[in-house]
């Protein structure tokens, strides 16, 4: 079963990545598709954007998740259950539904702009969706909103496994809560941080729904991701499945490389 549903498609895709042509008229072109990647400005923008999301969004999100998890783990906090559920809820909403709602919230005459104008933070509406910079920011806000709670749950679970006596010992040694966070919590959570970093990296490299639904890759490829480019190559343009398979393999190779680096950095 595993062979049929995992390995067979993978090998077929690899064979496909050496072919090119419209729809079914495929011919073998050797490594041409792979050379084409380097000369393809759309692919380069997609790669660049994906890495921007990766570099900015993943650390922000994971740090936020860690802080939230620590706060929500505090025994003194009231309504802990409510806060935990509220922060986790975005992770179970429909990807498409939340993207569409974000699109309307961030529209030029949307709620976010109205709010920002009301509190006099900005004088004129920000073109969230149609400005290359702000469109990226919108996507980053959207994915952070959705996935922070999800990562927080992992941290919460492992925080509860940390022996309380370690914190007590730290307190006796005179460590402030911030020092406890950086010197006790983070090192203790290292394996789980590695796990969430890898899953978030993979998730970001495969990012599709938000970009597709909020900005459609625009304005002018400013937010396009590799996954969306694969979709465009297969379904939006005259289909070139061979080249799309090549681009898919690039994602695979990137995930492997980044995961190896992360393992090495964490010293495991």
């Amino acid at each position: 079963m595993i062979c049929i549903f995992y390995f067979y498609p993978m090998i077929q895709a690899l064979i496909l990545s050496f072919q090119s042509g419209m729809g079914n008229n495929l011919q073998y072109v050797g490594f041409d598709n792979y050379f084409r990647l380097f000369k393809d400005p759309t692919f380069i923008s997609a790669l660049k954007n994906t890495f921007i999301y990766l570099i900015f969004q993943v650390p922000i999100m994971l740090f936020l998740a860690l802080v939230l998890a620590t706060l929500l783990n505090s025994p003194n906090l009231k309504f802990r259950g409510f806060f935990r559920t509220a922060i986790f809820l975005p992770a179970v909403t429909s990807l498409v539904a939340y993207s569409v709602i974000f699109k309307y919230l961030f529209a030029t005459d949307g709620l976010i702009n109205q709010f920002l104008m009301m509190i006099h933070l900005v004088h004129e509406p920000i073109n969230w969706i149609t400005h290359p910079f702000w469109a990226k920011v919108t996507i980053i806000i959207a994915i952070t909103w959705r996935w922070t709670g999800y990562n927080m749950v992992f941290y919460l679970a492992s925080l509860q496994n940390i022996d309380k006596s370690i914190y007590e010992a730290a307190k006796i040694d005179g460590a402030s809560p911030i020092q406890q966070f950086f010197l006790v919590t983070i090192p203790m959570l290292k394996p789980i941080i590695l796990f969430t970093t890898i899953t978030s990296t993979i998730g970001t490299l495969q990012l599709f729904d938000e970009v597709m639904n909020i900005t459609y890759g625009g304005p002018g490829n400013a937010t396009i991701t590799i996954s969306q480019y694969i979709y465009n190559l297969s379904f939006e343009y005259t289909p070139d499945f061979g080249y799309a398979a090549t681009v898919s393999y690039v994602i695979l190779i990137l995930i492997v490389i980044l995961s190896i680096i992360q393992f090495k950095v964490s010293g495991d």
Partner: protein
């Protein structure tokens, strides 16, 4: 371990063998015996309603049972591409609706997938500019359906408020349009139109008035770098954005919302927008439909096209029945087109229907004008262009360059870069 690897390789070889056999046997989802004809289409108010009316009018020899499956256009493209490329026709419908801009990419990418309709319809019965997108290699594969002919929908009350008449907007150039737009914005505060920076539909409309497209007449050579008309389109697009006469929208619902709520003075678009404009009953009598503005090119005309789609029969069992159904309704029945235009305002490109009375009725919503007759008149003037197969791929390149141009890049450089990129990418 070694054994496992050998077993896996053996399995792989076996599976790839199965695949090639499957591909050649061309098994299919259709059923020779049943009367069922399945259709994939989008837009319940327009295309799907047209199918339902067609079923009422069908009186062919064999009985058919029409099963209409509604899908979003994007989903249809996706399903067709995955289905057709898998080599099996299982699960494919008998009839499918395809947008004219995309038709050639399907016809050429999957040459055996579509059924030749040449014996069923007379291409001469249809508007000229619909024939080249729907045919390939001398054979007629598509049955041309809606026109996509454009018009300039204008709010007459806003024009009056700003001191203009509809004559001022009749048969004008885009340049004049933009000048008046600035004035009207100043006087009334209303936006002149909506624009989506990610969608160059407006530029497509502009260049077709001059008989130009993103590709040369052969349909494959990109025509961007020295395309004067495209250049003018880009300049106008930028000017409309920068002079703030255009309200920026990012999707269909914001686009429709902008004119339904009275935010914009004009909607320069395809005639398929009529039902959406009329959906706002309170604005009845406030709209008029004028000819679309043209480019400054001396050969340009005040007529263009946007969108429009046609019916295709897939090469699966039951194709003859499906082709007969189309020929018997969309391909030959004037009464069918009369009902179509009366009930949903859909204007087909079947020329013999043009003489009928239903096409000469006036529409109170648009100030009592004979809107259908007008559209038909413009349909005949639309310059025919070869859309080729890469409209959306080129447009994505152009959208990116448009963004650079808006950010200050030299226009000639932008188009030259777009040309180089298109040449490198399209095969």
């Amino acid at each position: 371990m070694k054994k496992l690897v050998f077993a896996m390789i053996a399995l792989l070889l076996l599976l790839s063998g199965c695949n090639s056999e499957e591909g050649s046997s061309n098994s299919s989802g259709g059923d020779e015996e049943s009367n069922e004809v399945t259709v994939w289409a989008w837009d319940p108010k327009f295309n799907i309603r047209a199918l339902e009316i067609a079923e009422e009018f069908y009186d062919g020899e064999t009985e058919i049972d029409l099963e209409i499956i509604e899908n979003a256009q994007d989903d249809i493209i996706q399903k067709l591409n995955t289905g057709l490329s898998s080599g099996t026709m299982k699960g494919m419908p008998n009839i499918v609706l395809i947008e004219d801009y995309r038709a050639q990419s399907f016809l050429q990418a999957y040459p055996d997938a579509f059924y030749d309709l040449t014996d069923y319809i007379h291409p001469n019965d249809f508007a000229d500019y619909k024939i080249s997108p729907t045919s390939f290699d001398g054979k007629q594969y598509g049955l041309p359906f809606d026109t996509g002919v454009t018009g300039l929908y204008v709010r007459t009350d806003y024009l009056e408020e700003a001191g203009y008449t509809i004559e001022d907007f009749t048969n004008i150039t885009w340049e004049q349009y933009v000048e008046m737009a600035k004035d009207i914005k100043e006087k009334t505060g209303k936006y002149m139109l909506t624009l989506d920076p990610n969608d160059l539909a407006q530029v497509r409309v502009m260049i077709q008035t001059a008989g130009k497209w993103y590709v040369k007449e052969d349909g494959t050579t990109p025509d961007l770098a020295d395309n004067e008309q495209l250049k003018e389109g880009f300049q106008l697009f930028r000017e409309m954005l920068e002079s703030d006469v255009a309200k920026i929208v990012t999707d269909w619902s914001q686009f429709v919302g902008a004119f339904n709520s009275g935010d914009v003075v004009t909607v320069p678009t395809g005639n398929w927008i009529t039902p959406s404009v009329k959906a706002e009953a309170s604005q009845s009598g406030k709209w008029a439909i004028l000819p679309i503005p043209k480019l400054s090119d001396p050969n340009a005309v005040n007529a263009s096209n946007l969108g429009g789609s046609s019916w295709y029969v897939l090469n699966v069992p039951g194709k003859e029945k499906a082709a007969e159904f189309l020929a018997n309704t969309f391909g030959s029945k004037v009464e069918f087109y009369e009902k179509l235009v009366q009930e949903i305002g859909a204007i087909g490109t079947y020329l013999p229907a043009a003489g009928s009375d239903a096409y000469n009725l006036s529409d109170d919503y648009f100030g009592g004008e004979k809107t259908v007759a007008q559209f038909l008149e413009w349909t005949e003037e639309v310059p025919a262009v070869n859309y080729g197969m890469h409209t959306y791929a080129i447009e994505d390149i152009l959208v990116a360059e448009m963004q650079n141009y808006l950010n200050g890049k030299d226009l000639d450089d932008a188009l030259k870069d777009a040309q180089a990129q298109a040449e490198a990418q399209l095969n």
